[in-house]
């Protein structure tokens, strides 16, 4: 389906309709704004409820007869399990500070994409069934019947939130729409209401260890290609190992880094770095996914998918785990894993074997981010770098939502960029660091059928980039998230064509001077290095 041209798409009307928001049902489910329904087979693989063939455009979503009861029971259960949910249902004052912080509202103007109103879709049901005033006064107290149409509306907007938490930063009470979306999606999954782009990868990940469903020999083959390409560019033959017992470190990345074009270059950069260091580490074909699409279905599924990493670390008897460049993987790793699986007594407190640095900030969870690891290497002068090899690239950096607002890793990537590149320009202050804008495709929304939604949601990010593109000639956007690497390219192709997206360790791999390397004439992509164009 063709989406409107950028100049059409950017005509956005922020004026809300005359009709009150409770009176606009049924919701118009617009093409280009939603993902296809999840397949029965995917649900069966992981034992999710109500597997069946259904389509969003059908009137009948084939719900269990007692669907309403299931949702209300689900709400009740979660109110008792999550203080965040109970509190966020009660204390919103509707000040509207969050309204124009959401990338979907900015890029689309749909009032129900104001985080406050998206949350009110669920809150109104909460009030109707769980508060005295809502039970008695109904609509007057902001309560709303849970009807089939209200449920469809909830589904539609629960998949127009990327859980980026930008609104939460600005909320005077810290109300986190991500938390509300997470719960809303859990409730919807109780009825088998999900999307194929999420439940497919979940099923894959459960069975094969990664979202893409890559089997062990395929992963090995992919790496063989990396090895060949790296040798062609550098003359160095790296020798990654897999599922190797007794390695010091287990290294886990999002599986996009095995497959996605830009992700592959990031992996190649990482392979070079870890080879140069002589690090005693292993990949795993079983724990072959750091990302966790389970997080976009239910808390339990998120945990089920991630258990394998710790089981694998135990089986291989590694000392600690290192994780690659990924966004939600790090939100989950940083804020959830230790609670799910801790204490990690079978692992050791991570120490960099190269610099001796103790990673105090992860002494309990024993999981180091590769960006932390590399920043520490550079700080200790352990890497020989030639930043001029990246001189063709005028770079800006996109902070991933999750590492910014669910972690706070802001300086480390900038420190690395400043050491491996000579031309770095920040995008405007209101669009980076903790205020960064989502790529518009996070939380499992990076499908193709919802491209209009993604282009709209990515408008604030693309627009900030265009600013530095015009001002400083920035031609490269670097990032530390697999979804970003996949999603920012089509986003910028649409809004600001001709831009290269790179992972951070691709830039590291380019700049790294290796022992015994041949004269480097190309970067990892095979493009000529500056000054070597004639070769």
């Amino acid at each position: 389906m063709a989406i409107p041209k950028p100049n059409e798409l950017s005509k956005i009307d922020y004026t809300p309709p005359q009709k009150g928001w409770m009176d606009t049902l049924p919701v118009e489910i617009k093409p280009g704004m939603f993902c296809h329904a999840g397949k029965a087979k995917s649900l069966q693989t992981v034992g999710f409820p109500n597997p069946r063939a259904w389509a969003i455009k059908d009137d009948d979503w084939k719900l269990p007869e007692n669907w309403k009861e299931i949702v209300l029971e689900g709400i009740k259960e979660r109110l008792a399990k999550y203080r965040s949910f109970q509190l966020f249902m009660d204390i919103c004052v509707r000040c509207g500070a969050c309204a124009d912080k959401c990338h979907y509202f900015i890029g689309g103007g749909d009032p129900k994409n104001m985080p406050v109103l998206r949350a009110e879709l669920l809150r109104s049901v909460y009030r109707k069934y769980f508060t005295a005033s809502g039970k008695v006064l109904g609509k007057l107290a902001g309560g709303r019947e849970l009807t089939y149409d209200a449920l469809k509306e909830l589904w539609y907007y629960a998949y127009q939130c990327t859980e980026c938490r930008r609104c939460s930063l600005f909320c005077p009470y810290g109300i986190d729409t991500a938390e509300i979306t997470i719960i809303a999606r859990e409730l919807l999954n109780l009825l088998g209401l999900n999307t194929d782009w999420i439940s497919g990868p979940v099923a894959n990940c459960y069975m094969t260890g990664n979202h893409l469903g890559l089997r062990p020999h395929t992963i090995k083959d992919t790496f063989d290609m990396f090895v060949t390409d790296i040798e062609a560019a550098t003359g160095i033959k790296v020798a990654p190992t897999f599922n190797r017992k007794g390695a010091e470190i287990l290294y886990v990345v999002p599986s996009g880094d095995f497959f996605d074009e830009r992700g592959s270059y990031t992996t190649m950069g990482t392979l070079l770095l870890l080879h140069e260091l002589g690090l005693d580490y292993t990949w795993s074909t079983y724990a072959s996914e750091g990302g966790d699409f389970g997080f976009f279905t239910s808390n339990e599924m998120a945990k089920r998918l991630h258990t394998k990493i710790y089981a694998e670390a135990k089986r291989l008897k590694v000392k600690w785990i290192m994780g690659g460049e990924c966004g939600h993987m790090w939100r989950v790793w940083h804020q959830y894993h230790n609670t799910w699986f801790g204490p990690m007594d079978n692992l050791e407190e991570p120490v960099s074997p190269i610099t001796g640095t103790k990673f105090e900030n992860t002494k309990s969870n024993k999981t180091v981010h590769i960006v932390e690891f590399t920043a520490d290497l550079i700080r200790h002068g352990k890497l020989k770098l030639d930043p001029s090899r990246n001189d063709a690239r005028i770079i800006s950096f996109h902070d991933s939502c999750n590492t910014s607002r669910g972690m706070g890793m802001l300086e480390e990537p900038r420190y690395i960029i400043n050491n491996v590149c000579n031309n770095f320009h920040e995008m405007p202050a209101n669009t980076i660091r903790e205020q960064t804008f989502c790529c518009g495709s996070g939380s499992g929304l990076n499908a193709s059928e919802n491209t209009e939604l993604r282009m709209r949601g990515g408008l604030p990010r693309a627009n900030a980039f265009r600013h530095v593109n015009k001002k400083f000639g920035v031609n490269t956007l670097s990032c530390i998230c697999a979804i970003d690497r996949a999603a920012l390219q089509p986003l910028l192709d649409y809004w600001v064509p001709g831009i290269r997206i790179t992972g951070l360790h691709e830039l590291v791999g380019n700049a790294l001077i290796l022992k015994g390397e041949k004269e480097r004439t190309t970067d990892l992509r095979g493009d000529p290095l500056p000054g070597k164009e004639g070769n």
Partner: protein, 335 residues
């Protein structure tokens, strides 16, 4: 619910409340009801209601450590940490919460987006909501503290200090209190803002207009009593001191305006625990603000954590052994 209905229902209810007090006191002479019973009842409902609400929140556990991080985390020793927007220690959390509660830190960040031709998005600083909210909340607090003079004898020293600071302009007799004006100004701003900004109007419920209209009327009746239609201040103090000492007396001749004021305040107190006004207590419990960002350093315990079904390595190897052996990958069982 559209704007007209939500707003006018709120105005109508407050008007009815005023009328109720007026008729009850002037017509039915129910001074004791409006002067003693309703205030006591309202105070009880407020106290018990807020405690019950906080206990209810407290009963739900905090399964995960999910702070929204607003700056650089604690990581490598040479990287400067933003200790208060992204605290890793309890002290940092206390400062973060203090900034949130006393200075509305998050609201201070507020920006306003503007879409220009191009398209070009611009983000302007937008501090009006922050200023208006601060003016409203702080003046309300000071007005409340000033009212302690009605419930204490002699009045505490800090009330005297507040009074003299509040009236330092020395305009008029009785002296004009700045916070009275600021409170009315603040609440009026919040109301006008709610009505005039289309998006905010669109999200507003009756539950948003009602407290604003109520507080506006409380402020207006208070100011009318103090500066315009004088009431029997000695009589009022007899009544309020009696209330405070659980020995209520209802003197004759206090103007009806006082009873209306007191009734509206009672309604506000009684309404408080059942409404969004509980954000006052709730903000302290917000898990995105009151937790340290240190889950990789210190395990956060989820009381309902439970083991989950997983796809084990053994199953995985069983399904893939052939291709693993063929690809030269290590396996635990050869067949």
């Amino acid at each position: 619910m559209n704007f007209g209905l939500s707003f006018w229902v709120s105005v109508f209810i407050v008007a009815a409340l005023i009328l109720l007090a007026l008729v009850g006191v002037e017509g039915a002479k129910m001074h004791s009801l409006f002067g003693v019973i309703v205030p006591y009842a309202a105070f009880l409902v407020f106290g018990i209601g807020v405690i019950a609400r906080v206990l209810k929140w407290g009963r739900s556990p905090v399964p995960f450590r999910i702070p929204t991080t607003g700056g650089q985390e604690y990581s490598l020793p040479w990287i400067k940490t933003n200790k208060y927007d992204n605290p890793s220690t309890t002290f940092g959390v206390i400062v973060r919460m203090a900034l949130e509660v006393f200075a509305f830190r998050s609201l201070f960040r507020n920006t306003k987006v503007e879409l220009r031709e191009g398209p070009q998005l611009a983000y302007g600083s937008s501090k009006w909501l922050w200023i208006g909210s601060l003016a409203f909340h702080y003046s309300f607090l000071i007005v409340l503290l000033r009212h302690l003079r009605f419930f204490t004898e002699p009045q505490p020293f800090f009330v005297t200090i507040i009074e003299s600071l509040d009236g330092f302009l020395q305009i008029g007799a009785p002296v004009l209190y700045l916070t009275g004006i600021a409170l009315l100004g603040g609440v009026t701003y919040l109301l006008i803002r709610r009505i005039s900004i289309p998006q905010v109007r669109y999200i507003s419920l009756a539950a948003d207009y009602f407290p604003l209209v109520l507080i506006l009327c409380i402020g207006v009746t208070g100011i009318l009593m103090r500066y315009f239609y004088k009431v029997d201040i000695v009589g009022i103090k007899t009544l309020t001191l009696g209330l405070a000492h659980l020995n209520p007396k209802v003197p004759e001749g206090i103007g009806v305006l006082f009873y209306i004021h007191l009734f509206l305040v009672s309604v506000l107190f009684a309404y408080f625990p059942f409404s969004k006004l509980t954000h006052m207590a709730g903000v302290f419990l917000s898990p995105t603000r009151n937790l340290a960002n240190n889950n990789r350093m210190k395990m956060h315990v989820n009381p309902w954590n439970y083991p989950v079904k997983m796809h084990t390595y053994e199953e995985y190897e069983d399904e893939n052994r052939d291709v693993m052996i063929e690809a030269g990958l290590p396996v635990d069982k050869k067949e």
